[in-house]
Homo-oligomer: 428 residues x 2
Amino acid sequence: MHATPKASGPSSTGKLLYAQSGGVTAVINASAGAVIEACRKHGITAYAARNGILGALREDLIDTSKESPAAIRALAHTPGGAFGSCRVKLKSLDADRARYARLIEVFRAHDIRWFLYNGGNDSADTALKLSQLGKAAGYDIRCIGVPKTVDNDLAVTDCCPGFGSVAKYTAVSLRECALDVMSMMDTSTRVFVMEVMGRHAGWIAASAGLAGAGRDEAPHIILFPELAFDEAGFLARVRETVDRVGCCVIAASEGIRYADGRFVADAHAGTDAFGHTQLGGVAPALAGIVRAKLKLKTHWALPDYLQRSARHIASKTDLEQAQAVGRAAVAYALAGRNAVMPVIKRVSDAPYRWKIEMARLDQVANREKKLPRSFISKDGLHITAAARRYLSPLIRGEAPPPFGRDGMPSYVTLKNVPVRKCLPAFRD
Amino acid sequence: MHATPKASGPSSTGKLLYAQSGGVTAVINASAGAVIEACRKHGITAYAARNGILGALREDLIDTSKESPAAIRALAHTPGGAFGSCRVKLKSLDADRARYARLIEVFRAHDIRWFLYNGGNDSADTALKLSQLGKAAGYDIRCIGVPKTVDNDLAVTDCCPGFGSVAKYTAVSLRECALDVMSMMDTSTRVFVMEVMGRHAGWIAASAGLAGAGRDEAPHIILFPELAFDEAGFLARVRETVDRVGCCVIAASEGIRYADGRFVADAHAGTDAFGHTQLGGVAPALAGIVRAKLKLKTHWALPDYLQRSARHIASKTDLEQAQAVGRAAVAYALAGRNAVMPVIKRVSDAPYRWKIEMARLDQVANREKKLPRSFISKDGLHITAAARRYLSPLIRGEAPPPFGRDGMPSYVTLKNVPVRKCLPAFRD
């Protein structure tokens, strides 16, 4: 469509570029769909960058106007990243000057006037830097962040789109497993460990606590990355729980560490007979410790990507928030705002009410919100009532995808029609 | 209720005893609910044995008439084993004479005239032996099997209640993970391995194949326990798939072995710095091999009990079959049949139609139905069209549990009121 670079001034209508960044979630495409639908409503052409910021660097852009309304609607119930995402962090303006300059060049060539970056705190940082560079380069580009992360660790916002769904998956799966373990503990597994994501922050681990209430209900123990792992205390609690309840169900964050800083998973990584390092995890490490020290039969699960892509058990609250931040980001862009991000503000716990507010990207970029100590019980092994008040609304409501007659969810694959390139290739 | 043993002749109405055995499933309680509702309809008191055959041996019986109709209805959507299950296999009549005699004693003391054992091929064997012993002991007891196993390995029946739901979970989860991997493969994970249950039979592994169609759709490779694991061939296919598609998504049965018989999981079990054997799995072993040999970034998932307890994504077809075998078992019992089991007979593939037929327990006991070679592609790494025709109907239809306002499924916990014991304790 744009065979040659267009020199377009601020009077040009311009286009909006949307990109997905970092680990994908069950609802990041719902944000994408909301962005595109809002653009269509306002008569703005929305491009998407293939594989996040990489697509912008490579001038690998997708023309979303080639997709049918039904396909864009279907993004609301399709997990993964419909345009591709990436794990690439741009450095400072000085250190990565060539890449930032290239981005502005691509934006200029395609008359991109708005850039929406859907990601975590790294992405907020990239969007912030781009907004500063646009000013310096005399190119009018508005950069807006769209929050997303299963880790729920973004600053300012009350919660992060993507988290509510992984929290619901975790709580539901753990409750189901607990029913399984409890029905067989007399002659089979006594201790069950479920490993969850969240290397630095224990939000997902905490959400497992919603599976039960009271000390006799699973999970009986939750292990958080915010606290040092006390092996002796852990084993004592496992023993006591098995003696009292008959079994012990544990939710453990992948990121728990010993007091000396070593990750528990790394400390117990083994070497097989072929000399390969075993790709371990916290769950097998903990199961191994329990088996060796307490001589109890263990089982463990490590759902990995299943947890963050489980659109079939997404939270309706999460879905609605993912769509709301997408719509708000477009509204901010078209209102001429720059270097901002829509965030979720909690108005009340009961009834749960929330609204969208605007935050500055520099308040979000590169910060990390850990689980507050007040959300962790005094003994360090469970969540508090305050945590429940915070977490509970986020998993409420069901929003299952449509299923086909074949019994499978009807997830959409977009056509992803490329925009014709008009610049020389970028040597990165 | 029964403070002293009752001498009851064949003219007595008698009671029905239901018990759950072996690994639980997402729908075993649906069979239980159907059994109890059928008993209520016919005015028969239904007891349940706590923890399967152990409860019968220990005279640890539950009076299901103390449960409300709503609680019994809720069994249809509650995973796990509501009365407890067990992993106990009775030996031959000669080797386990005291236990069989005790069972008859307990049946006699509580006027149990029908015994329904809900399990796999071991349970069919136990029920068969009990039916024989009843005749020999002059006690009129009718023993009926109720099929159940996620492994789908029972003889005679076209499929096993419990399997359709784990198959649906597996296919849906794998499709979701594949969308995740494909959106990030450019800068992140290239090879993803999902380990599934089925130590001896590859039915669950095969069901992963329903996640996609065609060689470029995930799963790209399926590894079955029926065939020897050819590491070189596997690595070549992974390499070729990554080169062609950009990533490679693998479903692997926990039970795959090298040609010399060693389990792949065991062969790669490591030892950590503390001297503990690492509790490995096939997924980390395969990921380790790929990482070492192909230098590709890998991720792996091991859902373990999550897969067999995932009632939230159960197959409606599976649910209906689980209920149908429960109802049929009661009908057979009340019609005076002995040593039989209701099985599922497939009438047609398209449209999928099935009915319940009666099989003899001696045709089911101790047999194992593996995946036929005709269901595995010639290269041994995927499923055939015949497998798809067989598997596809089994995951059709959704039957989600009701969810509470808290966003969690409303699973029931029964009161499980014990029947008063009237016999001396059994020293096992």
